[in-house]
């Protein structure tokens, strides 16, 4: 049988997933590097395809390799004669990291396929643009086999689905909304922590202060732990506040150490001259300092809000 590949697909460090269109079924392929597991969903059995926006933190190989190449170029270019090349590469790495965070938070989805006996996730579909295209192509093929639903078909389904939980709907509404708000705030915090971490790494690799490296590593660990706790709902409870304290500290330290450099850079920008005797990239220092101050403010606000 000949298969045609659907948009989407996931190729991570170890796991891979893809979706293929066959004559009478869609084939979901998952597996490790050297093995493949298959699941077939026949067009005549598929009841629905659902796509829900949700954050997905998947690092695929293309993202990783682009970042790795930029990182290596930046390292090699430090010894070269082109002075601006390392900074451009670092800026691109940061831009890539920010783009990845944005895509992971805002343009990611979870796609499920439903049959009469199962409801399963399609792991190859996790970005919005490819998932939407895949669902359109797959949906059209299923419609060729099954036909389409007539308008108003939901009427009798709704009678069954909504009546049963109607009594419990009101008490459940409040905790659901609260969970949602808390989740978004936490995710914002984690995202800002990673952003701060990336910039910290960029700036401090030039200095030999080991304390900074320890702090950055600590921040990374706490951000990762907080992420795991949020996603899996487990882990130490006070970790978020500790992370806030660390970020506030980083913000204060950066403002204290680099205030002079920031002022010098601002003066240079105003006078339209190249700043002299500034050891660190002024634009990155400005971004980092501002980011840390914003984080510090966010930390204080979050620490004062109720859990």
């Amino acid at each position: 049988m000949k298969y045609k590949r659907l948009p989407g697909g996931r190729r991570g460090f170890f796991r891979q997933a893809s979706l293929w269109l066959g004559d009478d079924h869609v084939l979901a392929v998952t597996g490790w590097r050297f093995t493949e597991d298959y699941k077939r969903y026949y067009y005549r059995d598929i009841q629905a395809l659902a796509l829900a926006r949700t954050p997905r933190w998947a690092v695929t190989l293309p993202w990783f390799f682009v970042a790795l190449v930029l990182f290596l170029v930046a390292l090699v270019a430090r010894a070269g004669e082109v002075a601006w090349l390392p900074d451009v590469c670092w800026a691109l790495v940061v831009a890539l990291a920010v783009a990845w965070l944005f895509v992971s938070l805002q343009a990611s989805v979870r796609c499920t396929i439903q049959t009469a006996v199962s409801r399963e996730e399609l792991p190859s579909l996790f970005r919005f643009w490819s998932s939407e295209r895949a669902i359109r192509i797959l949906g059209d093929r299923i419609a060729q086999v099954q036909g389409t639903l007539v308008a108003g078909w939901t009427a009798h389904v709704r009678e069954v689905a909504v009546e049963a939980p109607a009594a419990a709907a009101e008490p459940m509404a409040a905790p659901l909304r609260d969970t949602k708000e808390r989740g978004q705030v936490s995710r914002l915090l984690e995202m800002s922590a990673y952003f701060s971490l990336a910039l910290g790494g960029l700036l401090f690799y030039r200095t030999a202060a080991r304390a900074w490296y320890v702090l950055i590593l600590l921040q990374a660990g706490l951000a990762a732990a907080s992420l795991i706790r949020n996603e899996r709902r487990r882990g130490p409870r006070r970790i978020k506040r500790l992370m806030i304290a660390i970020m506030a500290f980083v913000g204060l330290m950066a403002a204290g150490f680099y205030g002079r450099i920031v002022m010098e850079a601002l003066r240079a920008v105003a006078a339209r001259r190249v700043p002299l005797d500034v050891p660190l990239n002024p634009i990155l220092v400005i971004i980092y300092t501002a980011g840390c101050l914003v984080l510090m403010a966010a930390g204080v606000i979050l620490a004062l809000t109720k859990e």
Partner: protein
């Protein structure tokens, strides 16, 4: 995209007529065998509905299984899965072509002295598993070919290095 009333996230759902189909109920009275009826091979008390397309056994409506236009009995389905004779039932494959290529490439990237062993291993896997079925979604043998070429090149370089070293040692001696 609609918004989920519970969590507020964007949701896109596409439904199909199968969602309204009710499961077919087979009542015991409908398939109970009469005195002159042919009976199911697996259920002597039930009337036969069809014959298995592979083994010819009569099976009842409970036992009949449709697979790509054919009606099969549970026995043929089970043995077809176990012996991997029915491609439509295969749910797992090992991709030896990817393995051979990885064994040939990874040591070059991470630890090149290992290529002395890995190149031989890649050649062995490629030749030993040349006829093994590849991915079900249709691949060519390009990965095997690439692995063989790369592994041969690595081995040739090792041989050249060994010959060069021996000749230099001979000149010094």
């Amino acid at each position: 995209m609609a918004l989920c009333p519970a969590c507020g996230s964007g949701v896109l759902v596409r439904s199909f007529p199968a969602i309204l189909a009710k499961p077919e109920a087979i009542l015991p009275a409908e398939i109970a065998a009469g005195a002159d009826d042919a009976t199911c091979f697996f259920h002597p008390g039930k009337t036969a509905a069809v014959a298995c397309a592979r083994c010819g056994r009569f099976v009842c409506r409970l036992c009949q299984m449709e697979l790509r236009g054919e009606t099969l009995c549970p026995e043929c389905i089970t043995s077809g899965m176990a012996k991997k004779k029915i491609v439509a039932l295969e749910n797992h494959r090992v991709c030896y072509d990817s393995a051979a290529l990885a064994v040939a490439v990874w040591p070059i990237l991470f630890f090149w002295p290992l290529t002395f062993v890995s190149a031989a291993a890649a050649l062995y896997i490629s030749i030993r598993r040349w006829r093994a079925p590849l991915s079900i979604v249709g691949r060519t043998k390009m990965r095997f070919v690439a692995a063989i070429l790369l592994a041969t090149g690595e081995l040739a370089l090792w041989v050249w290095w060994a010959a060069y070293t021996i000749s230099r040692l001979g000149t010094k001696g």
